[in-house]
């Protein structure tokens, strides 16, 4: 038990070290890497082990390594459940103009859609909607809240 815990801590330290050395300029907190949310607070699951959402850096729609991993899990799940269609809901944080954020949310949801399609999911099964900054999950006016809100969420459509 105790040994296990120590082992875990060592792993964590090693892991953190890896990230730090990979990207020395980016701040790593327990819930954010750079300004991309890495926590689990708001995440829901489409099925066991299949997170429903991916997170983005400010003004970005690039998928992070973690996001790609999540989407690959979603793709595998969608392949197994071929009758299920999904809606990708793209969102932005509150620190941008309303109209630009609508476009940004659309771009983020499409980044997720494109990735799912490269893993064999038909575009016909995926629809996309942007909510811009209209539907935050965290109302806070702070960087952590904003990072939770910059997201694309896969929602079952049927």
């Amino acid at each position: 038990m105790k040994l296990n815990k120590i082992f875990k801590n060592i792993l964590l330290v090693v892991f953190a070290g890896l990230i730090l050395s990979a990207c020395a300029t980016k701040k790593v907190t327990n819930q954010m890497q750079g300004d991309v949310y890495t926590g689990k607070d708001t995440v829901e699951y489409l099925a066991s082990g299949v997170p429903d959402r991916v997170f983005f850096a400010t003004n970005e729609s690039v998928l992070t390594t973690a996001s790609r991993e999540t989407l690959r899990k979603q793709a595998a799940w969608l392949r197994k459940n071929s009758k299920i269609n999904i809606v990708l809901e793209g969102h932005a944080d509150e620190r941008g103009t309303r109209e630009y954020n609508l476009a940004l949310g659309e771009r983020r949801a499409n980044a997720a859609k494109d990735y799912l399609m490269t893993y064999g999911i038909s575009g016909n099964r995926i629809s996309v909607i942007s909510y811009g900054k209209e539907r935050p999950v965290d109302s806070g006016s702070n960087p952590l809240a904003w990072s939770k809100n910059r997201r694309s969420v896969s929602v079952k459509a049927n």
Binding site: N59, S61, E94, R95, G96, T97, R98, E99, Y100, L102, A103, L104, E106, R107, A109, N110, A111, D114, V128, I129, S130, Y131, E134, R135, P136, V137, D138, S139, G140, S141, A145
Partner: protein
Amino acid sequence: MKKTKFYLFVLLLILLPKTSFGLIEVDITRGNLNPLPIAVSPLFVETKSVKDFQNLLKKDNIGEDISAVVENNLKSSGLFNPLKREAFLQKPDIAHLKPRFEDWSLIKAQALITGEVKYENEKLRVEFRLWDVLAGKEMMALAFTTVPDNWRRVGHIITDKVYQRLTGEKGYFDTRIIYVSEKGPKTNRVKKLAIMDQDGYNTKYLTLGNELVLTPRFNPTNQMVTYLSYFKNLPRVYLLDIETGVQEVVGDFPGMTFAPRFSPDGKKIIMSFAKDGNSDIYTMDLENRIVEKITNHPSIDTSPSFSPDGKYICFNSDRSGYQQIYVMKSDGTKVKRISFGKGLYGTPVWSPRGDLIAFTKLHKGKFYIGVMRVDGSGERLLTENYYQEAPSWSPNGRVLIFYRETKSDSEGKGFSAKLWSIDLTGYNERLVDTETDASDPSWSSLLSE
């Protein structure tokens, strides 16, 4: 589009002024550290009309009420300092016939408004005069009639005439604001289209709040509005006739359309269409329904706004990597970036006077409302805050209205969204009263033109 319902029935006659050139002038191009002291003598209600107005409008003294509208407008402009009525020495009826200028200069009034209201042939008839107190001369006299229910508009029209006579520029008081009324938790705001008079009165709600609605904008030539609605979870640009309530989707696009605005002649809608992660700018002609693609670039192109002559379009694009402001010809050629300052720039709106573009700027975690010339030079930031955006011009291009949000904690405590206005000079920042929280304001043209 006829404006029958809102139009004043008769602009009756102009009483000939005894002198045609006035001496007081108000300079509106500077910040007004010395607003002009003006006395608004309560309009005299003709004795035999008093009962009629009591019955019709439940008002004991409609003259005082109309004058209060005028006073409030003048004060909110920041250019005038309406003096307290208690200090007035002369009675309204006598002042209107022949002011005793010594009495008015004694209380430091430089200008004086007097008038009379009566009920005549089922109409409200108002007659008013503007006087130069120091010169002892009449500057303007005007009379008109309308339906009694329009009494607040009478006050707005009087203000517009006085403002124009004293500043040399058209007023903006007989106008309305369309905006989004907001309620509920920040994570799930209920939003409705709302419309009100420029001074915050006569609020009406145009949608029920069943679907998300955003960014309403007036047609500059009539009472049509374009906005974004999430009806049936399909975000599309809609057209709404606010007199009949009839609405329709604009065009047949296989995806989200957003950021709509009218062309200055009111005949086209310009907007963004988002497809496959890319937003470009399109126009649709409202008569022949022809759709044209104006920009074609793998970046986000949005928030388009026409120049008042219709020849150019300013818009927002992140083609340089970040949000910046661009200008192009209305056919999409000759695209030129105009914003080069530090920070991000969004929501450009072309001034109705043609010489300036107002914008939102984000720099070092602060939001600014500013203006720049149409070539990008002469950037001037008018106001700084935690969050504010989306300026809309008054029809005379002197005032901007925008919305501002406050910080909140993770439960949403502390959050508010309110409308604010500021003079082009950067002075006279004011909260615009609304019944609920509010955002996305758009200013109408003058109604009585």
